[in-house]
Symmetry: C2
Subunit: 225 residues, 2 copies
């Protein structure tokens, strides 16, 4: 599923692993570990050691031969690399269960990320707050809020049929990157980077394998051979 925007030399798989790496390094730092090898890191994250080294190699030299990586140092450099060293504001559109879950997730409220607002078109929700205190504003205030907070990233969790319209408004408001949690396919938009995260797809991938892969197509009787 391409989500290509500009010169995308770095694959999504790589950025995902960097994220994972960052998380692992944080844990190690809390455990008081000062130095770590790609070997050990890999085992903890379920990745290959060579792959970690390769991923890092793309961005420079981070370790010391014969020794390993400095935990605090590598952590800081990856954080920097992922663009998390400067604070970033997020907005979540759609204050249904999914939107609320996203807004309150500690994962989006750590490092440099902060969810600054939720939007919904339901009058009864507007003016309220999520459990952790994110204010719910009217969808009509999107442009104003985005401008005021400098938010660059939006998480889209509205009903599928409203998704394209809302995405267009977010783009117009100056949002530069969007994660689409909707099943709707969004048209390509000029200055907006889009990642589609379709939760259904993961489940149907499982049903495929559960049902024995392509078993459904094979005849019920044993094949000739």
């Amino acid at each position: 599923m391409p989500g290509r925007a500009r010169r995308e030399a770095v694959s999504e798989a790589t950025t995902h692993r960097l994220s994972l790496l960052l998380r692992g390094l944080k844990a190690l730092e809390e455990e008081g570990v000062g130095t770590v090898s790609s070997q050990v890191l890999a085992a903890r994250l379920g990745l290959g050691a060579a792959q970690i080294r390769k991923d890092l190699a793309r961005f420079g030299e981070f370790g010391v031969r014969g020794v390993g990586y400095g935990v605090a140092d590598l952590k800081e450099r990856i954080r920097r690399l992922l663009g998390l060293s400067t604070p970033r504001a997020l907005v979540v559109v759609g204050a249904g269960n999914l939107g609320l879950a996203l807004a309150d997730s500690r994962n989006f409220n750590s490092d440099g990320l902060e969810v600054v607002a939720l939007f919904d078109s339901d009058r009864r929700k507007v003016g309220g707050r999520s459990r952790t205190g994110v204010p719910i504003r009217s969808a009509s205030e999107i442009a104003e809020t985005v401008a005021g907070t400098g938010a660059e990233i939006a998480l889209l969790a509205v009903p599928a049929d409203e998704a394209p319209g809302v995405a267009a408004r977010l783009a117009a408001a100056g949002i530069r990157a969007l994660v689409n949690f909707t099943a709707a396919a969004l048209p390509p938009m000029p200055r907006l980077m889009v990642r589609n995260v379709d939760l259904t797809l993961f489940v149907e991938g499982l049903t495929f394998h559960l049902s024995g892969g392509d078993a459904a197509l094979r005849p019920a009787v044993a094949p000739v051979r």
Copy 2:
């Protein structure tokens, strides 16, 4: 990120595209379209035409040369292929916002999929129902409910630190496939197929590209060359 279990000849990318295809075909059928070419289908889904043909080729011959694919026929065959032609029960563990969102999602309650129960350890939630009526049971009833409903698939949406324990209990209860929405890394379990869907990863992938890729590592002054 491998999630390899048994002989996994068919890639996750392929099953995702089949899911997408199924969705597209449903839409076409509702529009009253009887026949469609890989060309048109591809354009609607944002895929390549050759790729659609290649994906299908893996499972047999589905179209008519010079004509295209019969919408109703192809839809039915893909549904079959994905293992959605027979009903499947799902359970969702964790009745927080994310769990409730998953349980009420129309995506998991169409075709052959049905969410039959939510589980939570919070006494105050147990006995209640989600907005669409899925009953919330005590986490202690997992084994019993799974046995009673024949559920094979579980969606895991509990706090990260509880994830490994709950996953083990689900495996013991007879669940065969699990989608882990938690940030926790689950240990490999014998008869349990796991897919990890870490929502954080998608956002941090965006911050990487927003910050100009590896711009953070390049010196502020222009490189020598």
